[in-house]
């Protein structure tokens, strides 16, 4: 939370208009990304992490999506009020994106060199030859063997992992300050996943850029993140340094998420219930219907305000609130009966995967 953050998001709200009603995909999200830092947005499918990431450069499909409130400042400039043309000078040159599905993110009818060159020439007045030469350099830097020979190949001639490397090369074309990677490894084989994560880490070390990584995979978080933002049903439940988050998780949801990881003792504890309805979210804490510690106050009123629980560590839970600190004992392990009560709760939610 420093003033010289590269990216600063305050109370971001984004909605989708659907036939069933207005989906509040992102409902008051705030966080910062410092220079040279890797921040992970963690959450289940439908928690609003992709919508948050795509709101930054307004890639969100409008309609049906719409950013309805909040402020996004990039390097001190408010991008939410920027005109489309102005925003375009930032897209790809200062903020670059890598998407989940490398299969689909490359256009099948152009060579990879042409697609990387297109990214360069969108922002820099260079010749085609020059762009092609730079594309070869970029392909080399992302670990494509024999780049000079492969620059004119078409996407279908690359493996999925290599396609993701090409997509990363394309994102790096104009040396961005911020790379937004949305589940960059989810579509890949496990062995390739590790390579791509290593590549991202080494590229960041080389270039000193910031990375905003969207993922549902806590393994990825542990590997790359400096700081973590835990999203749930369009709201931030916890923000912490990565070590803090894994060693001293504060929010009951974060704790439950960590329980889901296959641990040393081999016991996996799934979280009962499902995500609440994004159209008509419950009052109070969004996680309360699934929270074994929830008291009556958790189900009423607005969302719990963020409470500081440590150095640069914030959790939005009444358990840390001055008034309720005594009423909720977060350290008590929930009884079997309480866990059962949560799983049996009539299901008001829909199962994950909010509109994209």
């Amino acid at each position: 939370m420093t003033d010289d953050s590269l990216l600063s998001i305050r109370d971001l709200r984004a909605q989708f208009h659907t036939d069933e009603g207005v989906v509040r995909a992102v409902d008051g999200v705030s966080f910062d990304v410092g220079r040279g830092e890797t921040v992970c947005l963690v959450g289940e499918s439908g928690s609003g992490k992709t919508v948050t990431a795509e709101s930054i450069t307004r890639l969100l499909a409008t309609p049906p999506g719409r950013i309805v409130g909040g402020e996004i400042r990039f390097d001190g400039t408010d991008v939410t009020s920027m005109a489309e043309d102005e925003l375009r000078t930032i897209r790809g040159s200062r903020i670059a994106h890598v998407f989940q599905n490398p299969q689909g993110s490359l256009n099948p009818v152009y060579s990879v060199g042409a697609q990387i060159g297109e990214a360069i020439r969108a922002h820099r007045r260079v010749s085609r030859r020059h762009a092609r030469a730079r594309a070869i350099d970029l392909l080399e830097s992302v670990g494509i063997p024999d780049p000079a020979a492969r620059v004119d190949d078409y996407p279908h001639e690359f493996s999925t992992g290599q396609k993701q490397r090409v997509a990363i090369a394309m994102a790096l074309a104009c040396d961005p300050d911020l790379l937004i990677a949305d589940e960059p490894t989810t579509a890949l084989d496990v062995t390739v996943q590790a390579d791509i994560l290593d590549l991202l880490a080494s590229l960041q070390a080389e270039r000193g850029m910031s990375i905003l990584l969207v993922t549902h995979d806590l393994g990825v978080v542990a590997r790359l993140a400096d700081r973590v933002v835990v999203l749930y049903a369009g709201t931030v439940l916890e923000r912490a340094d990565v070590v803090d988050l894994f060693e001293r998780p504060a929010h009951p949801y974060t704790r439950a998420l960590l329980e889901c990881l296959p641990g040393v003792d081999g016991e996996v504890e799934p979280i009962g219930g499902t995500l609440p309805s994004p159209i008509d979210p419950p009052d109070g804490c969004r996680f309360a219907p699934r929270c074994p510690h929830a008291i009556e106050e958790c189900h009423a009123g607005g969302r719990p305000p963020p409470s500081t629980v440590g150095d640069d560590h914030v959790a939005s839970c009444l358990g840390y609130h001055r008034e309720y600190r005594g009423a909720i004992d977060l350290e008590r392990h929930p009884t079997a009966e309480e866990t059962q009560r949560v799983s049996d709760r009539p299901d008001a939610g829909i199962d994950g995967g909010g509109p994209r």
Binding site: R91, G104, N107, S111, A122, Y154, M170
Partner: protein, 324 residues
């Protein structure tokens, strides 16, 4: 590439051969109208109808075996000796040579209009889905597809020719070929021809483009900082051309040929459709044959062009014939 083109060419030739052979089989199986005509004539003149029938049959080589007939038929087909037209009292080939220009002057502009306007509106519709303009385009498209072209032609003639007096009603081949006046004769026929084709191309273009409007690579292109125009043309339209070319040929050939027939007859343009109609009405077999085979040949050539265009447009197509 050369191997692929060669194979496609051989296929096209084989298809041509097959069509010509099938036509021969049909002709051999059907009675010759000329013989019955000659017999009827003879009966009226008081001579022997059977004799006259036999005479005509002999002139046409009826005494020969089917094989001999087939060989001589094939030789004359491929040497472009397509016989005499009884309607025009001319070689069939010279009738065709005179007529095709009149078809070309309506069909070619209509095709260009169909592709440019149809694809243009379709692309706009796809990138502005569910806007008023999109709905309006859909409405126009359904109008164009649904309206019967013969009726539409007559209504246009009535409104613009008769009521408003803006255009000539019936075609006049005496008008100088390269003149504005000539164009005024062609406006209505081209409009009728283009209406159905534009509507059809527009629907296809919209459907194909829609598939790519929401593709991840268009989002990637936008994330790179490309303008909306660049995204639409390079990342929506360009990949859509691959399936569109496939549809384009079959669709356009179908619509344009079918409509050209009606349009030429209604407006009295002496093109291939009109000639074909005259030949049918007067049972002028050689001319019927020629005007039926020509669209078939055009379709075969168009399909060949389409296959070749496909390999140029889609890098994923492997023209060496090996699996990708």
């Amino acid at each position: 590439m050369a191997w692929f083109v060669g194979r496609r060419l051989v296929w096209a030739l084989f298809a041509t051969f097959l069509v010509v052979t099938l036509t021969f089989a049909l002709l051999a199986a059907s009675p010759n109208p000329e013989t019955s005509q000659a017999a009827w004539q003879a009966a009226q003149d008081g001579s022997d109808p059977e004799e006259a029938r036999a005479l005509v049959d002999q002139q046409h080589g009826a005494g020969d075996s089917l094989t001999t007939q087939y060989v001589s038929y094939m030789v004359s087909m491929f040497s472009l000796d397509w016989g005499q037209s009884t309607t025009y009292n001319e070689d069939v080939t010279s009738v065709i040579a005179n007529a095709w220009v009149y078809s070309a002057i309506t069909v070619i502009p209509a095709t260009i209009i169909a592709v440019v306007v149809g694809f243009g509106i379709g692309l706009y519709s796809a990138t502005h889905q569910y806007t008023t303009a999109d709905y309006a385009a859909t409405l126009v498209a359904f109008f164009g597809v649904s309206i019967p072209n013969f009726w539409f032609a007559i209504v246009l003639m009535l409104v613009f020719g008769e009521l408003l007096g803006l255009t000539p009603i019936s075609y006049d081949s005496e008008v100088p070929f390269w003149s504005l006046e000539h164009l005024s004769y062609l406006v209505l026929p081209i409009t009728v021809l283009a209406t159905a084709a534009v509507a059809s191309e527009m629907r296809y273009a919209r459907a194909e483009a829609l598939e790519y409007v929401s593709a991840t690579w268009t989002k990637t292109a936008r994330a790179k900082g490309l303008s909306e125009t660049a995204v639409t043309i390079r990342h929506v339209f360009r990949p859509a051309t691959v399936p569109l070319v496939t549809i384009l040929v079959a669709d356009l050939v179908g619509i344009i040929f079918a409509t050209a027939y009606v349009v030429e007859v209604i407006f009295g343009i002496p093109g291939l459709g009109y000639v074909s109609y005259q030949a049918l009405v007067r049972m002028d077999t050689p001319l019927v044959l020629a005007t039926t085979l020509i669209p078939v040949f055009v379709t075969i050539v168009a399909n060949l062009c389409q296959d070749l265009a496909y390999t140029v447009l889609d890098p994923r197509i492997d023209y060496e014939g090996r699996s990708p």
